[in-house]
Structure formats: structure tokens, C-alpha cells
Amino acid sequence: MQTQLSNLSRRRFLAGLTGLTAAGVMAGCGGNGNAGGSGGKSLTFLNWEQVKGNPLEQAISAFEKESGTKVTIQPAVTQEYDTKMRTLIAGGSPPDVMRINDDFVRGFSQQGALLDLKPYIDKDKLDTSQFAKETFDFPLQPDGSHTAWVLGYEPRLIFYNVDLFKQAGVPLPPTTWSADGWTWSDFEDKAKKLTDPAKKQYGALVYLDTGYEQTFTVNHGSQTGIFSKDGTQFTLSDSKESEALQWATDLTCKDKVQPPWSALQQDSIQNQMFAQGKIAMMFATFGTVPYMRQTVKDFTWDVAPPPGDVEQKTESSVIVFCVPKKAKNPDAAWDLLKYLASEDGGKILLQGGAFTPINLKAAAELAPNGKAPAHIGLFAEAAKHLTATNQTKNTIGARELYRPALDTAYNCEKPVADVLQGVKSQVENALKG
């Protein structure tokens, strides 16, 4: 039996196998090891988004020049970041500074995985009045420890298409933080006038993420929003809160001025719809600004505060980093965090136009600089109107229960109150951690 393979002797085969092993060794030798052990001061840094080409990279470079510390940025992506973070912490050699989901801060703090930065704050006699108070206090734990560090915050505002307002002859929303002519009913009226079914153009988009749940419930008179202050109760299912969510849902189910829930299931679809001029007003985070700046070319857009009801506040995601307790270079890590929250660091971060730096002096310089949105300063103004987001031991677990359940309400099949009451006990069980 002759085959091509049969020409290969055992010796040649084994030689080939040895070659493969050697090549494999070569491939694996590409490892760079962990930075941070040799020579002068150094530290490792992990973010869940690309740092390269962003102001964060510039701010880190400026810190390197000022401090003489070498910062090694490790690549990571948003997908599976939480798994990576948990693995690195459990593995015992995490990076010195790492981004952390704000929902995890309480849980990780209670497990003792995060370094308390309070001794550093006290030792350096840091003037904390230079920071936006609500967000600076976010990582404060019940025992007084300060287990994470907020670099900035991304408030949510109403993004609106100026051209669509003008075409429909509808007065523009306010340019200051005011509810004058900008209440929930004003918003609803404008949304109706801006909706054009023939063009598949919707007047508004509000119900999208947990930021809307917190903002609209608090603005409707809720004292707590989604969770109680101690993080043990699911207050979103209470009557005021359910009413707020029902109002947002009715924009679709009754008024037909908001895209149906089924049309919003694709990743980034809401941004695409806004950029295509299919949505006139959208409640979205500051983090959306860079995308809109890059993508929207053929109309003018701007931002306005959320419409007012009992209150006129907004929820803000926070950009949180932490120093794991097992970090090899905690002192250098603290120096970097302190720099990034300083006026100098904040001014660099501000250039990205994606979040408001926590440093108030840096945030005050938030200006359009010839780019949309013209009233970008409202993102800095938002610092005075933030809702406090209550932390729990298991926010992610709670969300995994109640958010899918809300689909039934958003698809106009059941009232919001019924859906939330139905999952309340399960959610509160999950909140026990």
C-alpha cells in the first residue's frame, strides 16, 4: 500500500514532531511576563475599553513624565471583562490599577478584595472638596473604607435632533437645567409632534437601560429608585416607581411615539437610529457623545436635561477604578489614580468628550469647542442634579431577574406593576447576596 504519507519514515516523523515541539516552545516564548518587577517604579493598568488613541492614554503618558513611573497598559475588551477581572483577582496577581464595574464595588469590598484608599487620602491630606461630592463618595463603604476611585461620571441627558424640531415647528428643549416648558407632559407632547409614522420616525426613546429606571423613578417622586438605601429591598416594584416606568412604556404602547421594544434588541441600534434621523429625542449617556460626533454628519444635534416631574435629576454611570488588595505596587497605583483625578489629569481626560472628570475645576472647562453638542456644559451642570444610586451586594443578580421580566411590559403584554410585583420576592432574595 503506497501513500504519500508512507514515504515518511518513523525517524523523520519523530524529527518532525521534535521540530513542532521546538516551534511550539518558540511560540510560547513570546510571553512578556508581568511588568512591574524590575528597575524603577512601575505599575500595570487594565481598562475594559481600548486605551490607545484615547485621552486616557495621554493622561497616563503625562503621569509617566511627571512621576517617572512606567505604566504598562494591558489590553482588554468589554466582552467577558467581568470574568477576566474575577479570575485575575482570584488568581492572586491582579494588575495594580483596574477598571471595575460600579455594581461590583460593594460585593468585592465585602469580600476584602479591594484596597482601602482612605489611609492614602488621609496621609496625603487630599482636598476632597475639589471633587464632585456625589460621585466621589460612591465607593465609600458602610465601614468607612474607600475601596475604589471614581475618575469621572457619565450623566444621562436627552440627545435631540435640532433639525427635526425645526422641521416640525416644535420649540427646542431648554438650554439650561430648567423644567420650564419641559415637564413630562411637555416631553410627551413634543414627542407626538415629532413622530412621523410614514417616515418611520419616532419622537422619543426613553426606556432602554437601568439609568432610565433610576432617573425617571426618582423624578416621579421615588426616594430611592431601583433599590432601597440599604440595598436589601427592590423598591422599583413600589407604586410610584411602577407608575414612572409605565409612563415610559406607554410612550410605545399608547402614544406610539417610541420605537417598539422588539426593534431595539440589536446592539447599538438606538445610536444608529438617532444618527439616521429616525429618533428625535433620546435619553442617553455622555459616553455616546464620541460616537455621535464621529457618525452624525448631516444634521445638528444637541443635549438637554431630562424633563422634570416632581424632581429633575439624572442618573450617572461612574468611571470607577480600583487597586486590588494583592496589587504589587499599591503606592504607585495610588499616585496614578490621584493624578487622573487632579485638575491637570481631568483636563486631559476632558478632551475625549466621553465623561465629566470628577475634578470640578477640570469639569468647569467642559465646552463645545466648535463641536456638537452646543450645550455640552450641561454634562458638568448635571453634577448638581445627580440621583444617588444605591449599592447592593448583588446588583447584577437582581438585574438578571427583573430586566428580562420587564420585556413583557415593554412588549405591551402586561402592566409594569404586575410584572415587577411578580418578581419582587425573587429579586429581594437575590439581593441577599
Binding site: L20, A27, G30, P75, Q276
Partner: protein
């Protein structure tokens, strides 16, 4: 009557072909559109304002990642084919104490989900200095190819004993019989395993993400995932990257197509 039957058969098959091709066509179309016009309702398949610059942007970013993916896919495919074919031959043809129990144990290991041993495995790799190297992305896979071993065993079982006996009469060693007589009979199974292994390695996002911390060692799926941010995704660039990444997969499948289909239909005929 026969013509009607044949025509309807072709119509149904054409509809299936269009349904299967639609996502691929949409991906290519999206990769050539301006970002603001990627998602539309109803979906559009032909770009009106072709943006070749999307590919330019992606090509600037991915060469290192592409090379790492190619290298790892090659190590995984070659390594698994060697190890699985030897193990499969041993389980199918060699007689030794505890063979069947060992095979059952081997199959049982695949029941444990990877996420369950992720952290212990990470700690082990850290202790032996493998974190931030490419070893974790191919050595464990090559040394424990459960599915491939199963497939190869089934394939070896379908070969008549007479071939092996003839080799023995002619004085061939055990390795000689495996290498010169038996292995060439299993080309379809080898092709199927090769394609599956290539796909698994090529699309692996999780492994590189967990074990690699240096950018110059990262792979293509990680590069593509970087187009996805917390609040928005650059879909046009993501689709351009995905189009580039899918070309080697199609090439490998076309190359091994004939054997691949035989491989997955023939193995398992004899248990």
C-alpha cells in the same frame, strides 16, 4: 410530474442557500457602508456609498493579531491531529488493561464545563509561568483532545482487521501499521477534526482574553472585540474585521470540504 418535483426541489434548496448566505452578504455589505447607515430597517444588502476606508482602518490594526491567530491555529490543528490520531488508534486497536475504562474516563472529562476549572487552571498556569504566554492557548488543548480522540477511535474501528493483519504478516511494527496502513484510511476524520479544531482556535476569544496581558500576543477575536465599547459599537469596522477573519475559515473549509463531509458522516458507524 418529475420536472415539477425536480423544480420544487431546486426552489427549496435555493431558498435555503439564500437564507444561509444572507448573513454573510449582509456582513460584507455592512463592512463597506458609512457607520451611520449600517443598520437599517428593512436590512439593505447593497452598499450605496462604498467605504473602502473601513478596510484600511482595520488593516492598520490587525496584522499582529492575525499572525498570532494563524500561528495558534496551526499549532492546535497539527498537534491535535497527531495526539488524537495516536490516542484514537490505541483505544480502537491496541489491547491493554483498563483500555475501555480509560476511554470512559476520557469521555467523562468533557462533561466538566471549562468555567468550573478556570480559576484553578489560571492559578496553576501562573505558578508555572505560563500567564501572558501563548502556551495556555494550545498546550492543554493539544494534550487533551477528547472529541477528536473519540472521532478518531470511531474512524479506526471502521477499518477491516485484515489490513492490520496483512501489515503484521509483512513484519510492520505497531507504529508502522498505525502510520503507514491505518492513518491514511482515516483522512476524512482527520479533515473533519482539522476543520473543527481550526474553527475553535480561530474563534477563541475567551482564552486569549484571560491568559494574555500583552498586546503583541493577542489574537484576532480580541482585536475585533475592541471595536465594541461599553456604549456603542463601530459596526462597520467590526464587520470589515469579521470579513477579513472569515476568509481563512472559508478557505480551510473549501480545501477540506470533500473529506470533511465524509468524516462527519462515516465516523460512528461502528461502535
Amino acid at each position: 410530474m418529475r420536472i415539477v418535483g425536480k423544480t420544487s426541489q431546486y426552489v427549496v434548496m435555493t431558498l435555503f442557500a439564500v437564507a444561509f448566505l444572507a448573513p454573510l452578504v449582509w456582513m460584507i455589505s455592512a463592512s463597506l457602508r458609512p457607520e451611520a447607515k449600517v443598520l437599517s430597517s428593512p436590512p439593505k444588502f447593497l452598499p450605496t456609498d462604498t467605504q473602502w476606508s473601513n478596510y484600511g482602518e482595520v488593516f492598520d490594526l490587525i496584522p499582529v493579531f492575525l499572525w498570532n491567530s494563524v500561528k495558534l491555529a496551526a499549532f492546535n490543528v497539527v498537534g491535535i491531529l497527531i495526539v488524537a490520531s495516536m490516542a484514537g488508534y490505541a483505544f480502537a486497536r491496541l489491547r491493554f488493561a483498563g483500555r475501555d475504562i480509560a476511554f470512559m474516563v476520557l469521555l467523562a472529562t468533557s462533561i466538566i464545563p471549562g468555567i468550573a476549572y478556570l480559576i484553578p487552571q489560571y492559578i496553576v498556569f501562573q505558578h508555572i509561568g505560563w500567564v501572558d504566554t501563548q502556551y495556555p492557548l494550545w498546550v492543554p488543548k493539544v494534550l487533551t483532545p477528547v472529541f477528536a480522540t473519540f472521532l478518531m477511535r470511531q474512524s479506526f474501528l471502521t477499518i477491516p482487521n485484515e489490513l492490520e493483519d496483512a501489515g503484521k504478516i509483512d513484519g510492520a511494527s505497531t507504529f508502522g501499521i498505525y502510520w503507514r496502513i491505518m492513518l491514511p484510511q482515516t483522512k476524512p476524520a482527520l479533515a473533519a477534526i482539522g476543520v473543527f479544531t481550526f474553527l475553535e482556535s480561530w474563534n477563541d476569544l475567551f482564552g486569549p482574553l484571560i491568559y494574555i496581558t500583552s498586546e503583541n500576543l493577542q489574537t484576532l477575536p480580541v482585536a475585533l472585540a475592541q471595536f465594541q465599547g461599553e456604549y456603542f459599537t463601530k459596526i462597520s469596522l467590526l464587520m470589515a474585521g469579521a470579513t477579513i477573519s472569515v476568509v481563512p475559515v472559508i478557505a480551510v473549509f473549501l480545501f477540506a470540504q470533500r473529506y470533511f463531509i465524509q468524516g462527519i458522516t462515516m465516523t460512528g458507524m461502528k461502535g
